[in-house]
């Protein structure tokens, strides 16, 4: 059938039949073929390469990276910020849109939540990889020790530890909570050891009304908690830079600017993952172009915020009449960092403009390409902010430029594979769509609350 046809139009089928079809369709995705395992193997290979490079770094010290005085932070921190950003869209879609009652989210929420968890898992690696003495990373945790030494809670890095830690825990819990009913479905559709695992995982969910009642209220509360959290987390990450006195970092704009950027990049990543997935897993009729279009609209919206922030940054630099700030921004505009800067402008400000054209928003191929460009653009943005500012600080005699070394690139590649690896495991073993929610949407006949109609955007 064509992807625009919608299951609920198939009535007067009895509910049972329709529910049955949903089960079949979605559970059917859990048996992919050779291609899948090839991809999995590839990821493992990438991870191995990354780990090996990291071993080199631990053995020979950070001299193997491109870092030096004055650019003490580079690709690692950039990538850390990048992945944290990616994570944000997941929470946005599953929590914020849930609170907004934007029911179209159902189609992509599960994938997005999963992405959040894996992105945070990836991001969490980088602050440790980046350390000069990574084996002492636990000194950043406040634990009682015989030295009587605690941690410095004034340091933004400590805020990071708590923000990222909280964010990871909450995302996992939220993800799992939403998963419980579907795990029960899996349990009742499987046998043997799988069944045993699923029954442990599903906590013996039986779908009784009381379970549903507390489930409902817990899910709502979690969403309500996750929403301020997601704002705080990237604000904290932005403060890593904003509270420093480095020209180009020291700006009050950073928190909103980073949050917007985070959601922007995250949504792009959602598209990057969903578009191929729906093709391969034949979910076109559940994840329809109208859903993608809504994501595209959000991307456009956040892109505008981000573009505005770029402009305002330059305005600040000019208006402050502070030569240090001005130097940094000039070096971005026309200086050594201009190529990267303009690449970022093209990817993050110009290409998303395409989405003003409705047909462009519905063209999956185009969406996919643009989403990739945005991923590149947002990584570049963080790189320009971090390395670009450090390279042009107060005293010209201490200026110096930075480029990542092969070790850094390898570890970056490894981290990407690590992320994809988990995502692949996820789509292989867990339903990519929230089955119960899809069904739920079906029983409410009215279009306004129809899960698969593309209305009710934020």
């Amino acid at each position: 059938m064509s992807s625009t046809d919608r299951p609920h139009n198939l009535s007067p089928d009895p509910t049972t039949t329709r529910f049955g079809r949903v089960n079949r369709d979605i559970l059917g995705t859990l048996h992919p073929g050779r291609l899948y395992f090839a991809a999995l193997a590839l990821c493992l290979l990438g991870i191995g390469w990354g780990v090996w490079s990291w071993v080199q770094q631990v053995n020979n010290g950070l001299a193997v990276t491109g870092l030096h005085n004055p650019v003490m932070w580079g690709a690692y921190i950039t990538t850390f910020v990048f992945w944290v950003g990616i994570a944000h869209s997941g929470t946005l879609i599953s929590a914020v849109l849930f609170l907004f009652r934007a029911r179209w989210r159902t189609a992509i929420s599960r994938a997005a939540e999963a992405m959040t968890v894996f992105a945070v898992m990836t991001a969490g690696l980088f602050p440790i990889i980046h350390l000069g003495r990574p084996w002492l990373f636990y000194w950043l945790l406040p634990y009682p020790n015989q030295r009587g030494l605690w941690v410095n809670f004034r340091s933004p890095l400590l805020w990071d530890v708590f923000a990222i830690g909280t964010y990871f825990t909450v995302s996992v819990l939220f993800f799992y909570l939403g998963l419980v009913p579907d795990l029960a479905i899996l349990r009742d559709n499987s046998t043997g050891w799988k069944r045993r695992i699923f029954s442990i995982a599903s906590l013996g969910w039986s779908g009784s009304t009381r379970e549903w009642k507390h489930f409902n209220s817990s899910y709502l509360l979690m969403a309500a908690l996750a929403t301020p959290l997601v704002i705080s987390v990237h604000s904290v990450v932005s403060w890593d830079f904003a509270v420093a006195i480095v020209p180009g970092w020291h700006s009050t704009l950073f928190a909103p600017y980073f949050v917007a950027g985070a959601i922007f990049s995250g949504l792009a990543m959602v598209l990057t993952l969903i578009i191929p997935a729906r093709k391969i897993l034949h979910l076109e009729e559940y994840v329809t172009p109208s859903h993608l279009e809504n994501v595209a609209k959000l991307i456009l919206f956040t892109s505008l915020i981000v573009s505005y922030s770029y402009v305002i940054e330059f305005f600040f630099a000019w208006y402050s009449q502070n030569p240090f700030e001005q130097t940094v921004f000039m070096s971005r505009l026309v200086g050594d960092y201009a190529p990267l800067f303009w690449l970022m402008v093209v990817c993050n400000c110009l290409t998303p403009m395409l989405f003003f054209i409705p047909s462009a928003r519905r063209n999956t191929a185009l969406l996919f390409v643009v989403s990739l460009l945005i991923n590149v653009g947002m990584w570049t943005e963080r790189f320009v902010i971090i390395a670009g500012s450090l390279a042009r600080q107060y005293n010209t005699t201490t200026w110096g430029d930075y480029g990542p070394s092969w070790v850094e690139w390898s570890i970056l590649l490894g981290s990407l594979c690590w992320f994809l690896f988990w995502f692949l495991l996820f789509i292989r073993h867990l339903p990519g769509l929230p089955i119960a929610e899809v069904k739920e949407a079906m029983i409410h006949g009215s279009p306004a609350r129809n899960s698969l109609s593309a209305e009710g955007q934020p």
Partner: protein
């Protein structure tokens, strides 16, 4: 079905308890290395009543207490206990011109700068760190010189707890 959950939970709990228990009961052997010469502090200090400073002569003017040169040992042992096998060893060292390779009982990492002189000036007793060496036939380490242990004393004695006091 649900019973799996609870069995699993119970298992995890049990394991963690076990681990904790093991960690608690593991007791460390007191460190008492065999020295090249079985020097007996008890005999020297308690029985013959030789002062610590006599042998560890730098303790009041140097970061290091120092241990006596072979010559100083022989100063007495030319006469005293000449025929003891241990003194024989000592004599061999003296003849070969080799220093006695004593084994350190108390060692600090290189990034800690401890000063005996200053602690003596503050009238800290040898025993408060080294234990009752005068009653030890074989010197045994009585504490592991962990930073927290140093701090406890520095705090109670209102000595400086500034990091730069020891770390530079």
């Amino acid at each position: 079905m649900g019973k799996y959950v609870w069995t699993a939970a119970a298992g995890v709990l049990l394991l963690s308890l076990l681990a904790g228990a093991v960690w608690l009961v593991q007791a460390e052997e007191p460190y008492a290395p065999d020295q090249p010469i079985a020097f007996d502090h008890k005999v020297h200090v308690t029985d013959y009543n030789i002062q610590c400073f006599y042998c560890h002569s730098y303790v009041d003017r140097s970061p290091f207490a120092g241990v006596p040169s072979v010559e100083r040992c022989m100063g007495c042992h030319l006469i005293v206990a000449r025929d003891s096998p241990e003194i024989e060893k000592l004599r061999n060292y003296q003849q070969s011109g080799e220093p006695v390779p004593w084994i350190k009982v108390y060692a600090l990492p290189r990034f800690v700068h401890f000063n005996h002189e200053a602690h003596l000036r503050a009238e800290v007793q040898c025993q408060s760190c080294h234990g009752a060496v005068e009653s030890m036939s074989k010197v045994t380490r009585v504490n592991d010189l962990q930073m927290g242990w140093c701090l406890d004393c520095h705090r109670s004695e209102e000595a400086s707890v500034d990091c730069l006091t020891c770390h530079y």
